[in-house]
Amino acid sequence: MKRMLIVMLAAVVMLPVMAQEVEVVSRQRLLEGVEGPAYYPVLDNAGERLLFTTEGGALKLHDFADGVTTVVTQDYVAGRDACFGRDGKVYFVTQSVGEDHLVYRTGQCYDAKTRKANVVTPTRHGAMRAVPAEQGDAAWTEGSRVHVTVGGEERVFSPVDSWAGYLWASLSPDGQRVAFFAAGKGIVVIDLRGQVVAMLGNYEMPCWYNNNYIVAQNAKDDGHQFTSSQLLLLKADGTWQTELTKPASMTMQPTCGGGKIVYTTIDGLLYEMEINIYE
């Protein structure tokens, strides 16, 4: 009798999980025939504009409304951590190698209206990254620490051990949680007090699809090259996950905004995906 009760309870607990489904509503190539291979896509929060990097290294901005694509900068590395500011401008870092062979980096801001870039952080030697902020709230990583700034207050957390460090931190749309990647551990979701909410698995590049779901990359390699790569949809509380693409699809580098998911492939084909989540 006791065993039967346990089984019944387990079934009840499982039901909501089993009932969850995702429907891929649409999936279409972006900029087909217009752009060559494109990597490191970044959507703005509304999903109206897209940053990407060409194989030659140029950082470009595409506006879905008018279909116009403009070049933000030709700097080869600028697209790696470029982001949108709340003012609609594009923030990015350029770099150059000095005569002393040190790498010097400069923070810049691009205004799509004027099509001009301005230096906002002077050139200096060392690490420099642009981090998206919303009403001054932001999250970013440095070494094995995640920095969270909310309402002007910066908090620094190291909730899980990770020798190599943390990466890819972002605030949830409602600003209540932070997802980041801890090398060797995977994706971690914490609240604003630094408490671990969930460990979502050893996936990379998490981006918030909405307040409850995260899209991430699951890539495997042989030490030299990628051998598989797919996109996963993860529930932020760690209770559920599903495949959005197959491992052999070699899909990677997801970005989310305005209900859209944009990603690229190993050979630089940009796709836009729309999904419905039934709970």
Binding site: V97, T121, H125, A127
Partner: protein, 808 residues
């Protein structure tokens, strides 16, 4: 160095820049020691005494980490800022490629070194350093990545701790791996630092795999990479200490081949690395500055780290070797390489402790191919020992040292003579490696057997053979069972340009115990080309199971032909498309029918050929010939001067097939006229043309075919023969006998032939074609021949002509 700084941009609350400031001139190096763990993708080289998966053995993941940690230590000592992607070797350290790149980018490093070792992944064995950067060679995606590689490679290649097989290489990964397009190596893709991936050496070169087990060796690669960084950042003058390093080996003892499979070694790697050698660094006053001990992992590497510039003495001692010293000069921020080759301590004179063959009077004789082996108590000196070696009677041969000069093997160039008593004297002048001679001569004797060479019974293709081009079969037959080990390396077919043709090894046939002779029979994989010459090479090393080899190597030239080529202007008499119309001949005495006719799809023309499988009946003499006949003779007739042409498939049975013709009746008789087609000394199809020397006043039709035992050893088991298109080439009308103005006269006692040219001989045949009598010259005595109708075959001008005669 200031810690992380959150710098709000001018437009606060819109986006922020994080800035991690390092001192203005402090280079920041990101170190990626490859993937971690002891898993299937972590490149485990299985080397003795370690087994597969043993974490104490050779793993690229482990040696990469040691190099990386060494580089981190050295760079920090030199004033660099460093970051590293792992500090342990666990599966959890298997960071994804995109993670490693992102970590490097986030760190803001100036340069990125991904540290690896290489493997050919094939049977080829190489050892040289390589460095890659992202992009095409000469056109890096991130500026200066090619400069960073060019600054690094000379320092890696300068290492004298290893043995290089080739010069170093620098590649853009897109050029090196064009099949990957522009994907390139994963840790270079998207990397913002000036990035290199180095393959410091090849870990599938076995001596290198042992070296990579050495902490010292890995540390030195870290040191050399640091010099590349110093060169790149123009900091070579910033560090005031150097290193002394080297390899300790025996001066003549060979490295042991301890792995299950023999491995290739180059140069000084042939010599035994010395374990547990104590290496001391002494200053000018003889004071010990540093000391280290070589490990027991078969590499002999030592290192003195961070040595102040100056002149030192390096002293190496080992319990079994004489101590050796060398003076070295250490420069700031530079390696000083000093290798040692130690002499063993040998404290007794050399003696022969074992030898073979061991033979005493009355023992069985020794095989003529037996090498002489002498085993010593010490490693011997090559020159004095070989000079002291005397055989009586003298024999040419070669010396081979084994077991690091402990064992000397003398192999005669040919074989020893048969039935001969040999005396070997090793004069006492033979010295061991330390220069001490033997105290007395060593003498041994042996007596040889009566057989000293392998006898070739038959070979196909033979010299000058015309070989049908379709995947020819090669066969060698010898007088005893062949040793089949590595036989393919000793039996080769080359085309006219010397390219070796591949065997179809799945179809190979070898001799087996109980066979009458030794053989190997194997077809080629591909066709040869008609009209081209080929060489069948039989190496002298082809030997039987007793080690008796061929008397000499052979180079047999043969030619490819198309036996099924068109023969225009000829009449097809029989196409052999079906078994219908043929019957096996039954022995009139025993009614033996050990033969069978079938249709074969292996043909040259049409859809089928005719196959005749036969076995001989040894109970009666007639049973040693088998045959089949036409149920109804083809209508085409043959006359003197015609040529019978036929396509025959042979199995190298050495039996002799004949075409049987039957004459139209003459005086109530019909002659049986056998035309021999020659020995079946070949494999595959062959086209034969037989000029018909038929009686002038008769015509003949086909009757059948026979095959008779000719070679009692190779043909006795019967065989298979196939026939395809039998053709007739009509007579040209020119009669050799007429050209010679021949006249044949028969009197009571003699047949006499006269002609304008030399008559070589006469044969008298009965009406069944059997030889009754023959004689050289132009006269044949027939006084004792029964009266009757006969045929006379006259050999004239190298041709033959036949006439009917009546002897009364």
């Amino acid at each position: 160095m200031k810690k992380s700084l959150l710098q709000l941009s001018m437009m606060a609350l819109l986006a922020v820049f994080t800035v991690n400031v390092v001192s203005a001139q402090q280079p920041h190096v990101y170190i990626n020691p490859g993937h971690g763990g002891y898993d299937s993708d972590d490149r485990n080289m299985v080397i003795y005494p370690f087994t597969q998966g043993d974490s104490a053995g050779s793993w690229e993941s482990k040696s990469n980490l040691r190099k990386g940690l060494a580089l981190k230590e050295i760079l920090e000592k030199k004033g660099y800022k460093t970051s590293i992607s792992r500090v342990t070797n666990t599966t959890a350290d298997d960071l994804a490629l995109s993670t490693i790149v992102a970590l490097c980018n986030q760190s803001g490093a100036d340069v990125f070194y991904s540290i690896h070792s290489n493997a050919t992944g094939t049977s080829a064995v190489n050892n040289f350093p390589m460095v890659f950067y992202r992009g095409y060679t000469g056109s890096p995606q991130v500026a200066n990545a090619d400069v960073l590689a060019a600054d690094l490679e000379p320092y890696l290649y300068a290492s004298q701790n290893t043995v290089w097989t080739h010069n170093y290489q620098i590649w853009g990964d897109w050029s090196f791996r064009p099949e990957w397009g522009t994907q390139g190596y994963g840790v270079l893709r998207g990397n913002r630092a000036v990035a290199n991936l180095s393959e410091g050496s090849f870990h599938d070169y076995i001596p290198e795999a042992y070296r990579l087990l050495s902490f010292y060796y890995c540390w030195m690669e870290g040191w050399n990479i640091s010099l590349g960084a110093d060169k790149y950042f123009n900091r070579l003058d910033n560090f005031g200490q150097g290193v002394v390093t080297g390899n300790v080996r025996d001066d003549r003892i060979k490295r042991l081949q301890e792995n299950p499979q023999p491995f290739i070694v180059y140069g000084d790697d042939n010599l035994m690395p010395i374990h547990d050698a104590t290496v001391r660094l002494l200053d000018a006053g003889g004071n010990e500055v540093q000391r280290c001990v070589t490990d027991t992992l078969r590499n002999g590497i030592y290192v003195f780290k961070y040595v102040n510039p100056g002149t030192y003495t390096v002293e190496v001692s080992s319990p079994k070797h004489f101590t050796q010293t060398a003076q070295v000069t250490v420069s700031a921020n530079a390696p000083t390489y000093q290798n040692f080759f130690l002499k063993r301590v040998r404290d007794t004179p050399p003696v022969v402790v074992d030898y073979s063959p061991v033979w005493h009077e009355g023992d069985p004789a020794v095989k003529c191919s037996t090498p002489i082996t002498l085993t010593f108590n010490w490693d011997m000196d090559d020159e004095t020992t070989c000079n002291a070696f005397r055989l009586d009677p003298p024999v040419e041969g070669t010396f081979e040292w084994q077991d690091s000069y402990y064992r000397l093997v003398f192999t005669p160039t040919d074989a020893f003579d048969v039935n001969t008593l040999y005396t070997l004297t090793l004069d006492k002048s033979a010295e061991h490696g330390g220069g001490t001679p033997m105290e007395e001569d060593f003498v041994m004797q042996f007596y040889t057997q009566k057989r000293n060479h392998l006898e070739e019974l038959a070979v196909f293709p033979y010299e000058g053979a015309q070989v049908h081009y379709k995947t020819p079969t090669v066969e060698l037959r010898v007088d005893s069972m062949l040793d089949t080990y590595n036989l393919f390396q000793r039996l080769r077919v080359l085309d006219s340009e010397g390219t070796e043709l591949a065997w179809n090894k799945r179809s190979i046939k070898y001799n087996k115990k109980g066979d009458d002779y030794g053989y190997i029979r194997v077809p080629l994989v591909k066709d040869i080309e008609p009209g081209k010459d080929y060489h069948l090479i039989l190496d002298v090393d082809i030997a039987d199971t007793a080690g008796i080899h061929l008397p000499a190597a052979r180079d047999i030239v043969f030619q490819g032909v198309d036996a099924g080529a068109d023969k225009p202007g000829m009449e097809v008499v029989e196409g052999f498309e079906s078994t219908d119309g043929f019957s096996v001949m039954v022995d009139p005495i025993t009614y033996y029918t050990g033969s069978e006719i079938t249709a074969s799809t292996d043909r040259l023309f049409g859809n089928k050929s005719l196959q005749f499988d036969y076995e001989f009946d040894f109970d009666v003499e007639t049973g040693r010939s088998q045959g089949f006949k036409f149920d109804e003779a083809p209508v085409v007739k043959f006359s003197r001067g015609d040529t019978l042409c036929i396509h025959v498939w042979g199995d190298m049975s050495y039996n002799i097939p004949s075409v049987i013709l039957l004459s139209t009746p003459y005086d109530g008789y019909s002659y049986v006229w056998p035309i021999e087609l020659g020995e079946i000394n070949f494999h595959g199809w062959r086209y034969l043309e037989i000029p018909l020397d038929l009686p002038a006043d008769s015509t003949f039709q086909l009757y059948g075919f026979t095959i008779r035992l000719y070679h009692p050893l190779m043909g006795k088991n019967g065989g298979t023969i196939k026939f395809d298109n039998l053709l007739k080439k009509a007579s040209s009308g020119v009669d050799e006998a007429r050209l010679a103005n021949m006249q044949l006269t028969v009197n009571d006692d003699y047949i006499v032939v006269s002609a304008d040219t030399w008559v070589q001989g006469l044969e008298l045949l009965d009406i069944n074609g059997r030889n009754v009598k023959a004689a050289g010259g132009n006269c044949l005595n027939v006084a004792d021949v029964e009266p009757g109708i006969y045929l006379v075959r006259v050999h004239i001008n190298g041709r033959t002509t036949t006439q009917k005669v009546a002897i009364k």
